[in-house]
Amino acid sequence: MITLQHFLIIGISLFSIGLTTVIIKKNAILVLLGIELMLNGANVNLIGFSTNDPQIQGQIFSLFVIVVAAAEAVVALAIVVRVYQYFNTSNVDEPKELKG
């Protein structure tokens, strides 16, 4: 029997691993990978909650989450490419022109 707790544990594992990846990695692409992991953790939670729901609202909401994740990845990658063309680096800690 797969219970709701199983889904929730996997969801929070993905979310905390993604959070740690976002914080500790220097490469901007890996930061984006961490964000995708966090969104997947949220989706696993939604699917887990919708297993008891006859209206399956969680599944429909997770479709919209996937759409927003796709849009976010596209725009973020465009920004990373632009930053690389300007600063010649893809590390998130090297462009520090705004640091006073």
Binding site: M1, I17, I23, N27, I29, E36, V44
Partner: protein
């Protein structure tokens, strides 16, 4: 323990272990392929949660779309000189501390103190979930659906405008 639970544990172990591999590997390309493995097994978890349509969507959009985009972004933002692409870590202490604390608090709440009895219902899930989702997307969720379409159009145009090569204006 029946076979569904066994398969669930299998997929869950692959998901969490490959996500941990992303955290521990230094090679950026290996991290991308580990993310693909993680996405595949998350799709398996969706299928086990009676959400096969979401599982297929996950495979189509994440594995087929976003990961290819990530590999292209990786290719465009590194100097290719024949060496492996390695990355460094920073803020290691605060990152690991925050992740561990977050995981411990939430798993404590989920396992010991939360009460999910109210969520249990005797109603059955819709027999044909794909048909149900399709009808609902075109009736009850029509406005979010259209807004998602506009969002995708804006993201497409915005990404093209941001990443185009432009000449610096001479004054």
């Amino acid at each position: 323990m029946n076979w569904m639970t066994t398969i669930f544990y299998f997929f869950g172990a692959i998901t969490v272990l490959s996500a941990l591999g992303i955290l521990f590997t230094r090679n950026v390309l290996h991290a991308t392929f580990l993310l693909m493995l993680s996405f595949f097994s998350v799709a398996g978890i969706y299928v086990l949660g009676n959400a096969s349509f979401i599982g297929v969507t996950q495979l189509l959009i994440y594995v087929g779309g976003i990961l290819i985009l990530m590999v292209f972004g990786l290719m465009l933002t590194t100097k290719l000189n024949g060496k492996a692409l390695v990355t460094e870590n920073h803020n290691r202490l605060i990152g690991v501390l925050l992740g561990t604390v977050f995981f411990s608090i939430l798993s404590y709440i989920i396992i010991f103190s939360a009460n999910f009895e109210m969520l249990k219902s005797n109603k059955t899930l819709p027999e044909n979930a794909v048909e149900f989702i399709g009808i609902n997307l075109m009736s009850n969720y029509l406005i979010p659906f259209e807004i998602a379409a506009i969002l995708l159009l804006v993201a497409l145009i915005g990404a093209a405008v941001i990443s185009e090569k432009r000449k610096e204006k001479q004054e």
